[in-house]
Symmetry: D2
Subunit: 348 residues, 4 copies
């Protein structure tokens, strides 16, 4: 990123949560002028401490921006439209709004169209990086009018990890492309959040793949457990094959070096397991937050099979207890055709 | 079945559980002479009440059989080898043992080979029918030497439902084949239990298909529920689409007539739901009992994809709580990359 | 159904395809007066031959109906709105439109609201029965205003299979309820098509469960096949376990009597296999037609896990070739990390 | 790794394929004396060029080793037992055999027991690293007698990537453990290959997660395609939502920096796509090679749900055409109940 270009850029920024605040810091450090607002006064104060201009209100924020304004929203999905309702009337033709939250891309299409009636541009940015972005930089997937992308590129570059964050791919040479720096113009409105949505869908699948595999390692001592020999318990034909107590925390550490399954998620898992090897701080209720669902629904619209991604998604639903009624139905059937009584006591 | 032929058949029968006893009754009614044994004296006495000859011991049972003996075992899987160890030394070359339990077909192959060294024949019979077999007849899938099948055919025919149990298939004409009567010679040793294994694998899939669908109906009031708007809860974009409280018991009854999803399992479900519409007598722990597992493992050996059958199987594992560790791993990951705290309170 | 009540009912009917025509016949036989229209003149003529009054146009159809009109649409999904645009302006407050096609229930909600502005009632009916409905009767899942359902009940009863189509469930007694006759009021607008949608979702799961199981039987001769011992071919450790050539057509026939997996779908499969045991008339491209997709998408909105139903759906997508790109990605990965070359020649 | 210790170690090594040869080089560079054999003379010659002692035969190899011998096998699974039959009679009590190939851990248990009768030790090592191991080092999962592990540790350390291959996990401090260097003693016989088996099972899941997600991106232009409006084609309700032509190769590059889904597999994918963006060098037939199957089968024995791992495995089976018969069965059913004809022309 050219610091010179960044120095000429001024940005409004609404939403100073953990992620927003870190993003503002990164942009300030790159020389971008940030006028910020958040309903929490302390967050504004903290941003001001890093060099941002704290506005008292959305109106104040808009007033403090010059020329063709650009306002970045970093808000919970549910709040975006509320803020847009306040913000849009304050803007002028040619101004740009950026939604950097986790909106559904379908909302982007609706909003882009609504804003275009006011000659406003709408840019959707899927941002990955979570609590680590301050340190690692933010991977950004960007959709909307390409001209808006071009004008804002110094901000994206400032937030991005930069090319040095990973070794260059073999066939890539010359000046690093934006993708190699960690941000990419993905296409027209919605493209950014669409790519981010699929990114998260993949993330669900990756997480479940590790989790299932580690569960198989965990279960490798099944042959040591006493097993009732009743009709409700499937037999274990060769218990001598399942006599292992694996050092799972060490195995996750091991795989970080030289193996095919190395990844950032594995790095995190190994660190977490080094800290809490028994994972006793967790109960196993896994939330899901929209993108995994939308990815599956989009795949179905497209006619694209995503058995792994949906298996991962449904595993989360099940961890939330949502398979209960289906299981009761099956118990009822088993009782009806075989006189089977439910076995008790071993449901965790 | 020709009653005349059945009248000439004599059978030893070991194992007078609920299913065994009913099978003996059906054979007695067809004129087959049954010499029976069970470790429970009352079961022997009950069988004698129906006309069976009750033996005092396995030795006694063998002694009471004439000519080329045939001994049918109807025992829990775990006991079959124990009984065979006692029985085999008492038999003569040319005698036949029938295993009508739920053995893994791999065991059949081993046993058939072991018995063949004593010139004994081993017949494996997968029997479906459960607690309803007394009334409906037993569907039998048979493996082993074809000559043994032929000799025992009157017994299979006596147990089977008979051709009138279902309308004939359009292209079938002439004398009904055994398959049309409800028993079938499926091939050499293990063939009977292999087919029964797959039968049960299919059963798991069918049950889960209904259960999942009914769960979707049950969840159709999701839009009525208050939903917290936090980052750990996926948003429901259009709650107005999920405002239904469906009469599920009536729907299962409805589908029994004229619909594509009519089945015997649905008949049972409708009956069960008429009795207990809320399924309050069940907690949703669904046992699995071997065949579903073996089907999946055989499919994997064959390289045949069985995503539906394994999804059904894994649903049962999960209902037993066996996804717990995997879910903890995912919670740990989410905590590590996003600072997510597990949400509590809504796990059933 | 009371024939007396049916005799007082008059119905407009638009759409005389294979299914529509048979439905009209069934209603005529019950004494319901049917005024029909279809763009195909022959279809109108055929209906007239059965006793229907054939209209020349939609306008003509409406003109020929007395009192509070009821017009039943039996049309391809894509055409419903087109016909409604013509029909609605011709109707009067208090008239009723019935959509008996395979509409998405979300469309029902939209249409019901639009029609209510004209004081028209909209009834959505999911109809199962296919080409067999003429003979078996039609299973009907009904949504909309309950008063409209009541008024039209003689038509639903005429179309339904009737209580004798299946043995009564044990706990049911007294006068048979509508559900026991084969039609059911499921709830407000959209309820009928919602239940039908889930019905079809279940159907996908049931079909796939049978298909996978039969494929495992088919693959049971895997041990007989010569297997290359290269790094691209998974070894079959115990080929002696897979030496079976099963009589699959006979097995499907067998399971129709006395087994747990008996169903109408199995009846059809057995009949089809008796006719064409090798299934040589099929290439294995399995279409999907909306309901399976919508069921999965609704389940995801609800947070309800449906792994079996989606596995079945994705199997269809895959049969259409839609996994191609994903597979290329995996081949590229395997090449990159292991130098693996794709194996050729055995992809069907 | 202490070079001093390594200098005292002497190793026999049988199997100089691409992987074996590179492993020998790495050990030679660490000062380990290697006596090598392969049936291909050139491979022996090449190893000799790097400093290994080339033996003329297995007998010769054994003769050239001093003291307590250790012989590492790096062979195709199918050949291990053949070589063991020749090797074992040549060894003395106290000698050790290492199997570094991709054996099923069940074979390890059998072999370890057989060798123990000759007072030989058997060590099983799962090795990940593929064609990249020469450069990155080899991640090693080790099972067998712990004393044998200890004695051979310098060899494992020489092969391993070393602690610098990844940043240390936060909670880890002090002298790096073996796991942090890239090798780990996992437990008694079979433990090494068990962990490697699960490692590969996870790998299948990870690969499929990426592949499915990229396929959803690829399908995001579905709304641009002309769609026939027949009963065999599911409707796309909102084509305007699927108008994207995503730059997929750039997206895989993008995700390598700062995103949650970064991994070594993604690095490879991005490199491969930079080289061949359309993946035109692949047809999409994905082999599977044993470990994925064994992982699923072990999970089923354990009662552990692995829906993601099996979905990935079944996707490979399907890419090999093994869903064909199941699909024909479903087409037959659809024809039977709905008169549906298979749609042709769009199966790839």
């Amino acid at each position: 990123m050219s610091a010179g270009k960044a120095r000429n850029l001024q940005l409004g920024f609404i939403g100073l949560g953990r992620m927003g605040l870190n993003m503002v810091r990164r942009m300030l450090e790159a020389g971008i002028e940030c006028v910020v607002f958040d309903t929490h006064v302390e967050a504004r104060r903290e941003a001001a401490g890093f060099g941002a201009t704290a506005a008292e209100s959305i109106q104040d924020l808009v007033a403090r921006l010059d020329g063709a304004r650009a306002v970045w929203l970093m808000l919970p999905t549910a709040v975006v439209d509320v803020v847009l309702d306040q913000l849009v009337p304050l803007l002028n033709a040619g101004d740009t709004v950026i939604d950097g939250g986790n909106s559904h891309y379908v909302e982007d299409l609706r909003r882009a169209e609504a804003l275009s009636k006011h000659q406003l541009m709408y840019v959707d940015v899927g941002v990955s990086g979570g609590v680590w972005g301050r340190e690692r930089g933010y991977c950004q997937m960007i959709g909307g009018p390409e001209s808006a992308f071009k004008r804002l590129e110094p901000a994206f570059a400032a937030l991005a990890p930069g090319v040095d964050a990973a070794p260059r791919s073999e066939s890539r040479s010359g000046d690093p492309s934006p993708a190699e720096k960690g941000y990419l113009y993905c296409g027209p409105s919605g493209a950014g959040h669409f790519v981010k949505m699929v990114h998260n869908g993949i993330e669900y699948g990756l997480m479940a793949a590790y989790a299932e595999g580690l569960n198989v390692l965990k279960g490798a001592n099944a042959g040591k457990q006493k097993r009732t020999a009743d009709a409700e318990t499937a037999p274990l034909e060769r218990p001598e094959l399942y006599q292992y107590d694996f050092p799972i925390a060490d195995i996750t550490e091991l795989w970080r070096r030289g193996s095919v399954v190395g990844s950032w998620l594995l790095d995190l898992t190994a660190a977490e397991m080094a800290r809490d090897p028994g994972l006793n701080s967790y109960t196993g209720r896994v939330s899901d937050s929209g993108e995994g669902r939308w990815t599956a629904q989009a795949a179905i619209d497209e006619g694209v099979p995503v058995p792994v991604l949906t298996a991962a998604l449904f595993g989360r639903f099940t961890s939330q207890g949502n398979d209960l009624y289906a299981n009761k139905v099956m118990s009822a059937m088993r009782h009806a055709f075989g006189g089977h009584q439910e076995k008790t006591g071993d449901k965790s």
